[in-house]
Symmetry: D2
Subunit: 238 residues, 4 copies
């Protein structure tokens, strides 16, 4: 189902249109659950900001109101981050596909995963090297699933910035001529295979002290093929 | 609904997985139609090749078996065309989104539309001109809707070839190093805005004597934005 | 592209996540357009409520800033309407797929189309009649495209209400046991074919004095098939 | 990417349009892989039937031709199974979403997962019990992921039959009046919550000696809500 939620990220609160999946564990002696109680819990959360630690409160509500020992929720929404064009400094907004996924078992701590899908440009090193001029490039996305030790202070925007700077160049909704020159040349100077980008995202994530585990997928919408190039890695941090 | 169909294109017959919408006009004195009769008609066509003129036969069947004065069908499927890599001559297959749409009113001739969605590469002339090196490029698609005077001899593959050569370069499922060099340089030598590609497709279609009308949309999955560039035109031929 | 917009509907303002297509006519003497100017225009509209007559202002902006004679925009978003469960009176929100589409040619009045996709239940009259007990029913949607004479006072919510009451029963996000009994029995008492629902929507729309033209599609996600039943009609009002 | 494949299931061979993801492990000392070699391997498999044990051959090809220690492939396609209407005995075809997923590490046995998404009808026991007449029902799907001990003799069709009979009633593309009466009454006599269907699928799968592990998801496209009811379970068999 879809509901309007207010997502709180650091100082910012943003209203989003969230697609929600909300489930509870079913005790062996019960035949089915009370779906409408789940919707009632969600309705209570449509008027106040939701930060990551609030996801645990939603799940605790579910344990209580449905007398169950386990509950899980995922909310997927577009989250907007500001982009300033690199030369002309024009402000615009990029939509990032974002998800909050929480799982709670009674008596334990919530397992929370932040999902992000962040776009950027990639330019092929092989194409640059072998060609007398030009190099094929394309839009790419990086999808991450991040699991945190502490939920306080986790910032969606910080991780979007961390990821979008690992491609050959960033993408921007507004680019004047001088910006287009800048972005074209920046990408040409910084060629990266999909595997290079994956490695750089992995290295950047390993430096994040608050991460417990992560999974990364990078995908290039290859401009010279009608299929995509893909690389993936996952890791549990010590 | 989906059904397996054999599509006949010139000398070739190809089995496809078709998504079908099949409707009939409802006489004023009737409350509803007999949906299962439509499925029965379609089942008769799962074992023999369907060429464009057969779409009219399917619709005539519907007029007869459902005692109605109008019927319409659309079948959407992936159609595979062979691609030979430009230097190494490796054979592979590109999937093209294809649709057959027919409308028949009793006593009239079928109105038939062939829909195609064909991928290729585009390279931005502005980016090439203003940059000291490189130029942004990306995968693009051209969607056409073609209406024909005569149905005999219409070739899906011919129109795919006509369209895929209007971009900056063609896309290929297999590209060895020498092919990648060729395609990269070809695109760089042939920069085109989305509007340029549209105009060239329009000019090529105007030369087709058997066309009655057409609509064209070109879309670039811009590598420097997370949004797309788009151009469209439609025309009735004299 | 996607942007957060505030949609104004009568007394209400609702923030939405809008998917936008924004295009301008290209003069014959120009090779391409300035895409980023379109994004700049849109950015100006992310902070203030947009009502239907504002869509014309956005398009006028485009005519001016891109020196063109034609512009078109469509914005598609989920719009939430309140639903009160029929017996227990519990409040919840239903998401309706909504679109604003405007086309403006210099010197003319904007052509505006409101698109809505509204869910409800349908119960099959034939199944009810021939069966000793029960009757198959399913979720259905009605998609309308509405063209208006005057833009002031057009209410999204009013048309959602008008449409959702034409099925066999309404759908609700929260239904307690007493509500479920009510809805089940209401649908059983009010069996309708997809064609019946279409006719009733058409009759209701013909009574709307402010409509110039409309198109309606109804689709049942048949519970006894894995395909859907479909009916469509369009009309220009005198 | 998409390719036409011939899928072999017991005695039957069926041509399908497969969406493919094909990846290899990248050795630490290598910067990137040779994507086109993967496409070349796949092209070799477009002309001969593929049964489950052939997926291992495709992966062995990848280990060899890309000098790697790991490879994975998934192919997703619509597979058609025959349906005979229950009273009138009319033959038609139901499309089932099917996937073959294989992972191979050098020196080990392939891990293979068969994915199926099978549609049927569900009728709500609560709605039946509390209502004076009727009961809400809807289309449902069951998604399974099946892991096998032995690959020989695994039958797609057998598992489709096993699953589609666990709902309240089966769905059929062709239903004459006598069939519609049969299906309507069958569903009314056999009410099941989404959790009931899940449990019955789980019990049926536990009886399959050749299964090593499975995951099951059932989803009802609720006719009285615009959201869905959902239940899931996974299990490793002893």
């Amino acid at each position: 189902m879809h509901l309007p939620f207010f997502i709180s990220d650091g100082e910012n609160v943003q209203q989003v249109t969230a697609q929600i999946r909300f489930t509870v564990a079913l005790a062996e002696n019960l035949r089915g659950t009370h779906m409408s109680r789940l919707t009632e819990i969600l309705m209570n959360w449509t008027r106040r900001p939701i930060k990551i630690s609030d996801v645990e409160k939603i799940l605790l509500d579910a344990l209580k109101k449905l007398s169950t020992d386990g509950a899980a929720i995922s909310m997927a929404f577009k989250y907007f981050v500001e982009k300033i064009s690199p030369v002309s400094s024009k402000l615009s907004l990029n939509a990032v596909d974002c998800s909050f996924s929480g799982e709670l078992t009674r008596g334990e701590r919530m397992k929370f995963t932040l999902g992000l899908e962040v776009p950027f440009t990639s330019l092929c090193p092989c194409s640059k090297e072998i060609s007398d001029f030009g190099a094929h490039n394309q839009r790419s996305v990086c999808r991450v699933k991040l699991r945190f030790k502490n939920f306080d202070g986790v910032s969606i925007e910080k991780f979007v910035r961390l990821i979008e700077t690992q491609g050959s160049a960033e993408v921007f909704p507004i680019l004047k001529r001088e910006d287009e020159k800048f972005v074209t040349e920046a990408a040409y100077r910084n060629p990266k295979f999909v595997e290079d980008i994956l490695r750089d995202v992995v290295l950047a994530l390993r430096r994040e002290k608050n991460l417990e585990a992560f999974a990364v997928e990078c995908e290039n919408f290859e401009s010279i093929h009608s299929h995509n190039a893909f690389a993936a890695h996952e890791e549990i941090l010590p």
